[in-house]
């Protein structure tokens, strides 16, 4: 993954730009997509609580990495969508899912020694998609690219709102 801030900024730009062309996306759309872009990295919970510790406590196998896969990520999307008012639920789910999908797409760019990304399509498939090998998680340049673009979009969006 690139850093989470890059993921969030890409989701912001990805929803705000189409909002300028269509009335179907509400003002809250970008905030939901931004949150969705963070969801797959809930798998990083292992940093705070190792999966083997959870496994020992529960007495069953357990792996946080599953949260960084399509199926479990969509379950998190469904859970969060259930927290909003009924009339907003479907659109919220769609925007959260779009944010999460943008996260997976960006993660395909991460450099991997084996040339393949993790099996993101779980539980549908264990296929390892090819990685584009563009950047390391710790490379600053994706953020240096995303930040000025997002800032420009933010300023233009404010101007449009004020007009």
């Amino acid at each position: 993954m690139p850093d989470l801030l890059t993921h969030v900024l890409v989701a912001y730009v990805g929803v705000t730009l189409p909002r300028w062309r269509t009335d179907t996306l509400p003002a809250w759309a970008a905030s939901v997509a931004m949150l969705g872009a963070t969801l797959p990295d809930a798998a990083k919970a292992w940093i705070l609580l190792d999966g083997t510790t959870v496994s020992a406590v529960l007495g069953v196998p357990f792996d946080w990495h599953a949260l960084h896969r399509l199926g479990p990520a969509l379950l998190v999307v469904a859970a969060l969508a259930l927290l909003v008012g009924r009339e907003y639920r479907l659109r919220t789910a769609g925007l959260l899912a779009a944010g999460a999908l943008s996260h997976f797409l960006l993660d395909l760019g991460v450099t991997r020694a084996a040339g393949v990304a993790p099996p993101y399509l779980y539980p549908l498939s264990w296929w390892h998609p090819p990685s584009a090998n563009l950047y390391l998680s710790s490379d600053p340049w994706p953020l240096l690219l995303a930040a000025p673009v997002a800032a420009t979009v933010f300023v233009l969006d404010r101007r449009r709102s004020d007009a």
Binding site: D3, L4, L5, T6, H7, V8, L9, Y12, P26, A27, W28, A30, S31, V32, M34, L35, A37, T38, D41, G51, S55, L58, V60, P61, F62, D63, W64, H65, A66, L67, R69, G71, P72, L75, V76, A78, A79, L82, L83, V84, G85, R86, Y88, T111, R112, A113, A114, G115, V116, P118, P119, Y122, P123, W126, H128, L136, S137, S138, P140, L143
Partner: protein, 154 residues
């Protein structure tokens, strides 16, 4: 009625989510390339000659190779590119050789010094997303649901 259905749906989704984490933990060793490679280290001698893809932590740099640990397994890696230091994370795609030596075909190094800035910037990303949600949504205490703030629901 709506509340009861929502709680039931939430419980169902939460159950499925935990089940998927358990299922993944049970079967990833056989399917995920990194986890299946790591699992091979438990019976190293059986898998000598096989190709592996490992994520390891550098513990020592010697003339004979780079000493790494992968989930408690100590290995020597030959053919590492870059300039690793103890604490760095290294991806290794290579072949298991006798004597717990991995002959690397390709390695990718993530230096330790960049890890803290990565976490810090990522934390800012989470805070930014949460702030955006808080700015656009409010908690309706009658229905215990999140609702767009006034003027934001169009």
């Amino acid at each position: 009625m709506e509340d009861a259905r929502r709680v039931l749906a939430l419980a169902l989704v939460a159950t499925l989510l935990v089940a998927s984490l358990v299922h993944y933990g049970a079967v990833a060793d056989r399917h995920d390339i990194v986890q299946s490679s790591t699992a091979k280290l438990d019976h190293y001698h059986r898998h000598v000659g096989e190709t592996v893809y490992l994520w390891a932590t550098v513990t020592e740099v010697r003339a004979a190779g780079v000493v790494v640990t992968v989930e408690g397994h100590r290995l020597t890696v030959r053919g590492v590119t870059g300039d690793p230091d103890p604490g760095d994370v290294i991806q290794i795609h290579g072949t298991l050789k006798p004597g717990r030596v991995v002959e690397a075909e390709r390695t990718v190094l993530s230096v330790r010094e960049r890890r803290l800035p990565l976490y810090a910037v990522s934390a800012i990303g989470v805070l930014l997303a949460l702030a955006a949600v808080a700015r656009r949504w409010r908690l309706d205490r009658d229905s215990w649901t999140l609702q767009p703030r006034k003027g934001d629901d169009a």
